[in-house]
């Protein structure tokens, strides 16, 4: 079956521009997560969705970052006025639910480079 897909796979942008990253979760998965991995670091939790609501946004680095999910499926992560420190790989994951042991399945990521 189809896994988590993300687009674009690579994005190069200029400092100050806005970017939108897209995530298509596994069909039927109600929970969706965004992480980012900066160079030489582990994955850092950003935000998660249960259905269309985001109960925990505490991982978002600043108010330039926002995310939404519509129809309980596709999610977009938007970064406004990008900065060079936003350069990272942004990873999306989904899980069947939030029960104990529900595995998070990851997409291939979007590599964002801010010049």
């Amino acid at each position: 079956g189809a896994g988590v897909s993300q687009s674009p796979s690579n994005k190069v942008t200029e400092k100050g521009k806005d970017v939108e990253l897209r995530c298509d979760p596994i069909s039927g998965h109600t929970a969706l997560y965004w992480y980012r991995q900066s160079l030489g670091q582990g994955l850092e939790f950003l935000i998660y969705f249960q259905g269309n609501s985001a109960p925990d946004k505490s991982g978002l680095p600043s108010d330039r970052f926002s995310a939404e999910r519509t129809g309980g499926s596709v999610s977009t992560l938007t970064i406004q006025r990008t900065q060079q420190e936003d350069s990272a790989v942004y990873l999306c994951a989904s899980s069947h639910g939030l029960a104990f042991g529900d595995t998070q399945y990851f997409g291939p990521g979007t590599r964002l480079t801010v010049l």
């Binding site: 992480y35 030489g40 939790f45 998660y48 104990f100 595995t103 399945y105």
Partner: protein
């Protein structure tokens, strides 16, 4: 403050031998632990997990050991194969602490299995 630490950035082993990857954690609320494997340009793939009520979980060539008193876990791969060459991430969550959605990752260990 890194709550999950993988102190070895890289490990090299011979095909057929045992690979042992180590992980330490500091947050006593963590009660569920996972290992993910990541190939270049792909997202992390779930490998194996263990709950804090167990001290060992085995799946084929992969075994995870948990030492709660030492806040230490390890992944054993026996026998190692060249296809196991990848970056291995240790991750943890606080299932009973109400943060089961949020995985905290280590920085990863690059395993190279030489033929």
């Amino acid at each position: 403050d890194q709550q999950v630490k993988q102190n070895s950035p890289s490990l090299s082993v011979q095909e057929g031998r045992i690979s042992i990857l180590n992980c330490d954690y500091t947050n006593s609320m963590f009660d569920y632990f996972l290992w993910y494997k990541k190939y270049p340009a792909e997202g992390p793939t779930f490998l194996i997990s263990i709950s804090s009520i167990k001290d060992k979980n085995e799946d084929g060539r992969f075994t995870v050991f948990l030492n709660k008193s030492a806040k230490h876990l390890s992944l054993h791969i026996v026998p190692s194969q060249p296809g196991d060459s990848a970056v291995y991430f240790c991750a943890a969550s606080a299932e009973r602490g109400g943060s089961n959605y949020k995985l905290t990752f280590g920085k990863g260990t690059l395993l190279t299995v030489n033929p």
